[in-house]
């Protein structure tokens, strides 16, 4: 659905990165700070242009898409999301429906907003001011916004959709972190292609199918997550001794 071939971008330092995101598959983008994870996500989402190489979404070059048509198929969750003026959570999540404004359907938008808020365990926040929420609550509400953007009534759930998430669990408590990762799997189960930048390698092992490990803008390893995250590769990439152990029947990456 999204395929990127041989991407270069000087600002952000990406070199020769190729990625394929498929329907129903969760792909992790991993790597230390400054490795180029956010830059790659931005380029893949069409938010910034590659200096060299081509990004195609559903077969068409990303720059040939109209913003609203693209927004109905791909949603993007930024790492930091500040909202300039005080607005309610419900208003914010409803903005996710802007791409459907050509054929407005308030009832459908209402369903989408409620479903997304419930999925992210933030329905109870709907009438609060976004600015008054804690960091973790904001992150869940922003996630609800991008889910609302891709939401379809069951009859149209087959349409190809892609979700790009830049560190969606960064400021969440363990309970909500797990809930979000399970939600990501659930969305993939509905046929959405997911690309997610993560810092928690254990979560990557547990919840993602494939992984791209970036270091200094270059692909260090790429393939199934289990194959990418072996002790030696991770040690080299992050500059800290790492090994993969099993605890409570889960693979866990331990740094020493």
């Amino acid at each position: 659905m999204i395929s990127a071939a041989n991407i270069y971008r000087r600002q952000g330092g990406l070199a020769a990165v190729s990625v394929e995101i498929r329907a129903g598959c969760v792909t992790a983008i991993l790597g230390p700070n400054g490795a180029g994870k956010s830059t790659l996500l931005d380029v893949l989402a069409g938010r910034s242009r590659a200096d060299k190489g081509e990004v195609r979404i559903a077969g068409r070059p990303v720059e040939c898409w109209r913003a609203d048509a693209l927004a109905r198929r791909r949603a993007f969750l930024p790492q930091h999301a500040e909202v300039a003026f005080p607005i309610s959570v419900r208003e914010l999540v409803t903005m996710g429906r802007a791409a459907y404004r050509a054929a407005p359907d308030a009832a459908l938008d209402g369903l989408a907003v409620e479903a997304s808020l419930r999925l992210t365990d933030s329905w109870h926040l709907r009438d609060r001011l976004y600015q008054r929420l804690s960091g973790g609550e904001r992150q869940r509400v922003q996630l609800a916004r991008v889910i609302a953007q891709l939401w379809r009534p069951p009859a149209q759930a087959g349409e190809p959709r892609m979700l790009l998430l830049d560190e969606p669990t960064a400021s969440l408590d363990p309970g909500h972190r797990l809930a979000v990762m399970r939600l990501v799997r659930q969305l993939a189960g509905e046929g959405i292609g997911v690309l997610v930048a993560l810092h928690d390698l254990s979560d990557a092992l547990r919840f993602t199918d494939e992984a791209i490990l970036l270091t200094a803008g270059q692909v260090k390893a790429q393939g199934t997550t289990g194959a990418v995250l072996d002790g030696a590769t991770v040690t080299e990439a992050y500059g800290a001794f790492a090994e993969v152990v099993h605890a409570a029947e889960q693979p866990v990456v331990v740094f020493r």
Partner: protein, 354 residues
Amino acid sequence: MSQGTLRHRPGVLLALIAAGLVLSLVLATAIGPLMVPPGEIGRVFAEALGILPANSTDVTLRDIVLDLRLPRALSGMCIGALLAIGGSVMQGLFRNPLADPGLIGVSSGAALAVASFIVFGGSIAFLPAGLRYYGMPVAAFAGGLIVVLLIQRLAYRDGRTDVPTMLLAGIAVTAVVMAGIGLLTFISDDTQLRSMTFWSLGSLGGVGWASMVVLAPVAAVVLLLSLRFADVLDALMLGEREAYSIGFEVERAKRVMVLSVAAGVGAAVAFTGLIGFVGIVAPHMTRLLLGAAHRRLLIGSSLLGGLLVVLADTACRVIVAPAELPIGIITSLIGAPFFLVLLLHQQRQGYPGS
């Protein structure tokens, strides 16, 4: 709590603001050196509309109402609306509640053009008097627009208008323009200097039906245009790239919005000179009352901006009657402390982008 419940009934609040605006128009028509009771205003209208027979009201009264106060009040309403819309759009674009149309150079450009016109303007004496009335407004409008276009051009890079660069370019270009005004001040004589000073303080003393003919359509077009971009402005609350990600062609919208603000505010200051703080105070009060969603904000703040200018202008006419205080003095006197409160409040709240 009562504020909370009212906030969820924006229709009621909008109606209240609109009623306040109508009331302020009546007040502005009634109050002055010669008081005209509201009943008399009604009779004048009835006569003008042919409901009452001709000459059933006092001629002086009729002239004061129809030819002086009413067109001035209505122009004030349009000017206030234009300044408030300009402020709302700029604040949305810059994602900062303290932004003002002055940032993109409208006011300074207009001021330079007007100063040039005052100093060198003798050269349009050949025009018929009817057109000469529009000389200074046209100069102000053109000056504002040229400076805005220059600033926008400077901020244009890699196919997009960079908003932070626009802010900085605005400051730099404004500094150069102010130097130009300084130079003109230096070479002007005392009369010209006085005109320039008074222009920079703003006054509705020169408006009438002739300006209303221009201001009413401009205000209508700018309001409708800005409403078309209400959802883009909402999306811009999230940031420019987020607005693109949720499905808006931000570039085109930005260009059109900047130009329409330049045209609207340019037209307003063209007839009145600079009127400070309305563009900040009106949108902010509206945001407190109605929330930040832009459709409501644009409608509400244009009504409230109109209300504020009409009231301020009435105060100007009354306070030192029979002379008139420049309106900029009143709006700054009330607006500046308000601005300060807003600034301190914002620091405590920690708005992003501050």
